[in-house]
């Protein structure tokens, strides 16, 4: 083992092993609750403050975040989350405000939302934005409902039943289109890993409602025929949807709106440095061109010159996709990030993200296979086929990287690359870290196959048995033998 990384390990008890009672002693007066609805017992542990803090401190030490180290998880943009934005998001002016307060008492929050809508419009080249969706996939869902509403208003929804997308699309794209009631048509990419124009022409028709695309695509390749793509889609009477997961590559360099996309969603938890929190909360605002503005979810935030207000008076709106107004706490972090970086900083961030990606790509190609073209944007996808010859899978490589103190890249996606390794270093990393990661990737090529296949050795636990987890689901402590 050539790494000094050792993750903390505790045999941390689960909560009911710390305290496992279930009795409820205090009587509930029948003046406040009908007796037939009174609860008899409840197995919720009651811990002391020190027990709670030690439990979660131990657990946190067995968890790897960007604060712990390099996290090149492709498609997820695991950039550093500035601490000042966290601090601001914790202010009582942010957290202790009720959504139904009179608008005169939330002017600060409304101003922030109004300005953020404007910033996002400028960054993506769109005309209007709704901040309501709670995540990227949620923004896609809102976007697909906007597609629906648009075709419905022109009486074409009946026949425009299909959403077309490339085989490199994120899984959420087809899932969101299906959830909005569309049939999904997937087209194969061309040999460059880009949209095959002939396949696209063949796939679109008067049945097509929209084409969904991310640009740069999930291989990290900029779709340089984007204007032709837009032309084909629009000629068919369909809308062009931009999956904003990869926006971090092009801030200040190009805008989806200028590429003739009609709808975009943003992942504030990727591009705008709000933390991922182990899975969320995120935020997935949706932006549109002027002709689609009437369909945005209600309410939007407007300003009449003196005061900011919620606008619910939008008769063509798709309605609400979430309670209240969106994940406001996340919006605060994204707003602060945009103001911290500003026009120049955002552009520099994208430039450095692309530079870091190409620097690392150049260090690794030749050692690992790089399918498709050389020049990448914020991320690149290698194939683990060289290891396959030694009987080692990309999954094993990923686990071995953990031993070196790095989080693994995204693996087995996109599907068109065999044993895919999708690496997104982000702009947050310095050359030393990139070099160390490259060195680890090269060192693994020299490792004995069994050392790789038995990895990880230095994480809190050894290789997890996920087959057992699926075969015999133990999903709560109610499923434990002792509890039955």
């Amino acid at each position: 083992m050539n790494s000094r990384y050792r993750q903390a390990r505790y045999d941390e008890p689960i909560l009911i092993e710390i305290e496992k009672g279930s009795e409820l002693t205090e009587a509930v007066p029948d003046t406040i609750l009908p007796p037939n609805l009174v609860r008899k017992e409840l197995r919720i542990p009651q811990l002391t403050e020190v027990e709670v803090i030690r439990h979660y401190t131990h657990l946190s030490q067995m968890n790897y975040g960007v604060d712990s180290g390099f996290y090149p998880l492709g498609s997820c943009t695991m950039k550093f989350n500035p601490k000042i934005t966290e601090e601001i998001a914790g202010w009582p002016e942010v957290t202790d405000v009720h959504p139904y307060q009179d608008e005169t008492t939330i002017q600060g929050s409304l101003q922030l939302m109004y300005e953020l809508q404007g910033y996002l419009c400028e960054i993506a080249g769109m005309d209007a934005v709704s901040l309501q969706p709670a995540a990227g996939a949620h923004g896609e869902f809102a976007g697909m409902l906007i597609v629906r509403a648009y075709h419905e208003s022109s009486g074409e929804l009946g026949r425009r039943t299909q959403v077309v997308l490339p085989d490199t699309a994120h899984g959420t794209n087809p899932a969101s289109a299906a959830m909005a009631g569309f049939e999904v048509v997937e087209i194969a990419s061309n040999k460059d890993g880009c949209v095959d124009l002939a396949a696209l022409r063949a796939a679109v028709s008067e049945k097509t409602a929209a084409f969904m695309l991310t640009n740069p695509n999930t291989l990290g390749i900029f779709e340089d025929q984007i204007l032709e793509v837009a032309q084909i889609v629009h000629d068919a009477g369909a809308l062009l949807y931009y999956d904003g997961a990869n926006l971090n590559a092009i801030m200040g360099k190009a805008r989806p709106g200028d590429m003739n996309f009609d709808i975009v969603h943003f992942n504030l938890h990727k591009t705008f440095a709000t933390p991922h929190g182990g899975g969320g909360p995120g935020s997935g605002p949706v932006g549109v061109k002027k002709f689609l503005e009437p369909y945005l979810p209600v309410p939007t935030v407007e300003c009449d010159g003196d005061e900011y207000y919620f606008d619910y008076d939008r008769p063509k709106s798709i309605g609400k996709v979430k309670g209240y107004y969106g994940n406001f706490g996340v919006l605060v972090r994204a707003y602060a990030y945009i103001r911290l970086l500003g026009a120049t900083g955002l552009k520099n961030a994208s430039e450095m993200a692309v530079l870091n990606s190409n620097y690392l790509r150049a260090k690794l190609e030749g050692h690992y296979t790089l399918p498709h073209r050389q020049l990448r944007k914020h991320e690149f996808v290698l194939s683990g086929d060289v290891l396959k010859k030694k009987g080692v899978k990309t999954l094993d490589l990923a686990k071995r990287l953990l031993d070196h103190g790095f989080h693994a890249p995204t693996i087995y996606f996109p599907h068109l690359v065999d044993e895919a390794i999708m690496i997104e270093p982000t702009e947050s990393e310095n050359k030393t870290t990139l070099d160390a990661f490259a060195a680890a990737m090269l060192a693994i090529l020299q490792d004995k196959p069994e050392d790789i296949k038995n990895a990880p050795h230095n994480a809190a636990i050894r290789r997890v048995d996920d087959v057992l987890a699926a075969r015999n689901p133990v999903l709560t402590w109610k499923d434990l033998p002792a509890a039955k």
Partner: protein, 462 residues
């Protein structure tokens, strides 16, 4: 609050601290095999390339802090006002422990735990969260969260339609409009029909006779909130399942009530949903929070969202990992049970730490306290001439509807001048209730607060 320093150079932390490559550009460019940054962007067609964004330039950290303090200072917080707002978002006290737990950088800055071996902390915490939600609701399985309460209802309706292969969802007329509107949006895709079951005018509870007549072979599910939007307990909740035939019973809960209230799993619920915000999360203008969705094992493969399972590692030690992912979008794509990917995991951890500290006894006491306070406040407001409180002759949890003989709108405007937010006005959404207000008690309220509300309302009413 930090003032902008007069001395230049004192406050110098700007975005360059976030972009280490700016200082290493020459070596990085050389390594990447290019001479300039522009060469890395030649694949973008010239026609769509831009030089800059029309945005303000960046601020140094202390300027940012001052600017945002000033902007957000225009807000009034619950500390600046006496608030009786609720209606789905409840400003319960959030103990400092919760912030300490959810500020751990290792949790905050991690992604979805795809690499289980280095993510055991988040995985165990989320597995414990699943256990806590199932204990609270009396159900068998749950995911690690939905976006919020309303979207959880939307997902539950889609799930019920999938499971029953039916297309009608019954909801109470008195369901919160946020929930009703989100449910409508969520069901546009499969084209489900939403039908409203009226409430009894005297009690505010679901009209069972009409419900019975509405249930038929097209009914996929009934959604019922307990306590309902008016703060009223649905006393017949335990009889609902038997009235539904093969349709599913979806019970929407306020989780903070489950220390005193019977678990819906105990009276036949097929799916339990709820807004998680009351469990240790600030209202934050409505988000982020999380949505609860728990169900029975027989519906496991129809349910949306991410699941954590307990398993073993290669040495036989206890371990946790994401499981049953073949339901999810990254595997199943267009055929997934839902498109959800990012969820609200950190808010789930907030709730789990809140519940561990509060414990069953704490939750029990809090529930009793809230019930008694709303009873006491209603009694006090009844003594104000022209006010009827509560409007519904039923037992209430933490909120109730009052009706006034005079304009509630002017009462609220008057109260606001005194720093009081008396509640949520209902006239627009429930015109049949007249000049009505949904008033919510919080655990921090005491009798002097009730007195202040009564006084300010009487000044307008009398």
């Amino acid at each position: 609050m930090q003032e902008k320093p007069s001395e230049p150079g004192v406050c110098q932390f700007n975005f360059e601290k976030l972009l280490p490559g700016l200082k290493e550009k020459p070596e990085l460019l050389k390594g990447a095999g290019v001479k300039t940054i522009d060469e890395l962007f030649v694949d973008i067609p010239a026609k769509v390339r831009i030089d800059s964004l029309d945005l303000p330039e960046g601020l140094v950290e202390c300027e940012l802090s001052s600017m945002m303090k000033k902007m957000l200072g225009a807000n009034k917080t619950s500390r600046d006002t006496l608030s009786f707002l609720g209606a789905g978002m409840y400003p319960n006290y959030v103990p400092a422990v919760v912030r300490a737990v959810t500020s751990r950088g290792e949790f905050v800055t991690s992604y979805t735990p795809y690499q289980a071996e280095v993510s055991q902390g988040m995985l165990q915490a989320l597995w414990e969260f699943q256990s806590l939600m199932c204990e609270l609701t009396g159900m068998e399985v749950t995911n690690t969260s939905m976006y919020d309460g309303p979207t959880a209802i939307g997902e539950a309706a889609l799930m019920a339609a999938r499971s029953t292969k039916r297309k009608e969802i019954l909801v109470p007329k008195a369901m919160h409009w946020e929930k009703k509107e989100v449910l409508r949006t969520y069901t546009l895709g499969p084209g489900l029909a939403i039908k409203e079951v009226p409430y009894e005018p005297a009690t505010g509870q679901l009209d069972l006779a009409i419900l019975k007549a509405m249930v038929n072979e097209n009914t996929a599910a009934l959604v019922v909130s307990n306590p309902n939007f008016f703060g009223v307990w649905e006393e017949s909740a335990t009889e609902l399942k038997s009235m539904l035939g093969d349709a599913m019973l979806i019970v929407d809960v306020n989780p903070i009530s489950l220390g005193i209230a019977r678990a819906p799993g105990d009276y036949g619920a097929d799916i339990v949903v709820g807004e998680g915000q009351p469990l240790g999360i600030g209202p934050t203008l409505g988000g982020p929070s999380f949505g609860i969705l728990t169900t029975r094992k027989k519906f496991l493969r129809d349910m949306p969202g991410r699941l954590i399972g307990m398993t073993k590692d290669a040495e036989g030690a206890r371990a946790f990992c994401m499981t049953l992912q073949t339901r999810e979008q990254h595997i199943r794509r267009g055929k997934a049970t839902s498109n959800i990917c990012s969820n609200e995991a950190l808010c789930s951890i907030a709730a789990a730490s809140y519940l561990s500290l509060q414990g069953r006894s704490g939750l029990r006491s809090l529930g009793i306290k809230l019930g008694q306070k709303s009873l006491r406040l209603a009694e006090r407001l009844r003594r104000v001439a022209g006010i009827e409180a509560p409007v519904f002759k039923s037992r209430h949890f933490n909120e109730f509807v009052l009706r006034s003989k005079t304009s509630i709108k002017s009462s609220c405007a008057h109260a606001l001048k005194h720093g009081i937010l008396p509640g949520v006005r209902l006239k627009q959404r429930f015109p049949e209730l007249g000049d009505s207000l949904l008033v919510t008690v919080h655990e921090g309220h005491d009798d002097s607060d009730f007195e202040r509300l009564a006084t300010v309302l009487s000044e307008v009413v009398e």
